[in-house]
Amino acid sequence: MMVVNYVGAFALIVLGIYCMVAKRNLIKVVIGMGLVDYGANLMIVTAGFNPGGTAPIFSISELNMATFFVDPIPQALTLTSIVIGACVTAMSLSLVMKLKEQYGTLNTDEIRRLNG
């Protein structure tokens, strides 16, 4: 059943990128960034998941080919990545807030003083 997760992860990433490319509202662009991030997180956590595996508490000598557990490293990575994602969202939203104050709009077509 893991295929569903991978398909879902890539679907989230593609949707997020679509949102970032097609939506002209800054808030929606930020939502798109969030979606891309969730897709990546889902992908990592799926990479380490074993259906029915136990908690990964072993010493190295107890490990053998038959031990069946959920890989803890991807979960640690995902946690880190979620925290980073939250920071990205917070930071971009604060920038959006300031941009709205300065430019008076959230439309990306009008926020292009730096071009050429």
């Binding site: 990433i13 990128i17 970032m20 490319v21 097609a22 939506k23 002209r24 800054l26 662009v29 930020v30 960034m33 891309v36 991030d37 990546a40 992908m43 990592i44 990479a47 380490g48 190295i60 890989d71 490293i73 991807p74 990575l77 880190t80 990545s81 980073i84 920071c87 990205v88 930071m91 971009s92 920038l95 959006v96 300031k98 941009l99 300065q102 430019y103 990306t108 077509d109 926020i111 292009r112 003083r113 730096l114 071009n115 050429g116």
Partner: protein, 645 residues
Amino acid sequence: MNILNHFPIMSVMVLFIGAFVNALVGRKSSAARNGVTFVAITAALVMMLALIKPIMLDGEVITYWMGNWAPVEGWAFGISLEVDALSLFFALIVTVAVFASGIYSFTYMSHDDSQVNYYTLFLMLSGSVLGLVLSGDLFNIFVMVEIMTFTAVALTAFRTNYEGALEGAFKYLVVGSLGSTSLLVGIAMVYSQLHTLNLAQLSALIPQNASNPVLLAAFAFLFMGFATKAFLFPFQPLAADAHAVAPASISLMISGVLTKCGVYGIVRLVYCLYQNWDLPFVQYLVTGFGAVSMFICVTMAFNQHNFKRLLAFHSISQVGYVITVVGLGSILGISSGLYHAMNHTIFKGLLFLTAGAVQHQTGSLDLDRLGGLSKRMPRTTILFLIGAASISGLPPFNGFASKWMIYQATFQQGMSTGNPFFILVCVVALITSVLTLASFIKVSQSVFFGQLPEEYKDVKEVPVAMRVPMWILAALCVVTGVFPNLVEKFLLLPATNAVYSASAYIDHAMGADYAAAHGVFSNGILGIPASNCWQPATWLMLLFCVTCAVAIVALLGSPNDSKKLAISACDEDAEALDAKYESFFSGEEAVYSQVGGSDLFWGFKHNWRKYFSFMHDWHSGIVNDYTLYGAVAIAFVLLACVILL
């Protein structure tokens, strides 16, 4: 245990701890703030310099396992820092640039408020970049990339009221996050196949599984992730936007340090992790990206009216050189790429600092309004000219030596393989160099020479404290240019050797014979083919470059053309009635007409107007478009890697 083994982690930690101490004590007193910053950046620099002897000269590799969690039974679970000559080479670049930028900030930022935030973010940026190049763990590289991107974005927007600062920062954040996600997806794919993230172990395992399609896709994602951080084409608009609005000391960091992280990542990825020595496709891919970036960015620089935005495009153009030759996969290619990467940090840092000095004293970066500052700021002018000569590749400065090696590397590759692609790349590199020179003639004309506008009559020279870091960088420009043999011996040869001998890197982390057991053998190199930059033929080449630059001015701006242009320009635009658009320059009116930078090469610009207007529209400034370019590039590389490899 030798104290030197602890230096890598200490140098990273001292910067991060400095950041937090700064936030605690630096709120009130500027002396405490500057003191903490100075101690942190100096300590990091000194520690990296102390590592030169064991790593560069004795060829050691330092592996530091956090919490002493060494690999168990051939599996590296712990987090490690691993420093070989390649890492140290980039770490030296980083610490020197951080040092110059920090010293410069003390005066440059002294008029801003909430400086404590500036220095906290600055030290975190420095620490993350140093952590990135010293890290021995793929996921740590991702974390450091993220810290680096955030702090760089925050610092770009530091002067929130500066025109466009928020906008540049937001674009950088959005498109930068696309690159970071690409990196993260690549890391997830690598982990799902090989169940390890340690760089040394991956270097041993990946070449064994070279035909695994998931790993090839991971290569594409990782490559594009690092390419975003190096601002390669099509990510160059971000760099331009961010540089133009960031404080000059941060422009130095973005151009000199952040792009180098991308370069480091690409070298590490292509040659250590994937070890694609003779794969023609990877050569085409990396070299092609580099060549396109260097050409497009240098032409974009012609159109710019903002001093720092122009420098930003040149910066990416120079990074394009580095990536171009790194992609060749020859000894000369990699060593010249590393050499140019180092030189780029030095001269581009110097140029950004002079731009900052101009901004600090005049309050403007507009090339059309500035002028004649050489009368008021002679020392800054000299420093700028040193930097401009270096970036244009004029002897005896460092840009000449490394660019010479670059031409040689591309030409040799073309000759030995008989492939017209590499000859074309060599020609593009030469043309780009000529255009760089022409473009810097334009900048020096519009900022430092010509008429001094009325409003800048009372401009003063910048304070000594700001000139010191500029002189340090200028001296480095000369030293690394005049003594290329020393640079080669102490820095380039060990670093190139490290690129070629992944097995030493692997064995030191994973235990002896791990590399050999996985089929990775050392192919260390003995020397770099001579760079020959002091031969008469090189001076001939210089003459050729100068002649071309003069020819562009002389031929394309010939009197007949300009008359026609003047007439057509008059029709379109009332401003064109300015005396300087007349067919000849004389008489009362013309004397007082300022020849601006954009007037110098207008013949050239007129002949290429379709291309320039296309590129101008392409850099639309809309964040959605930039995301689209990035997504298309990632999709392209992904498809190409999976289908063609």
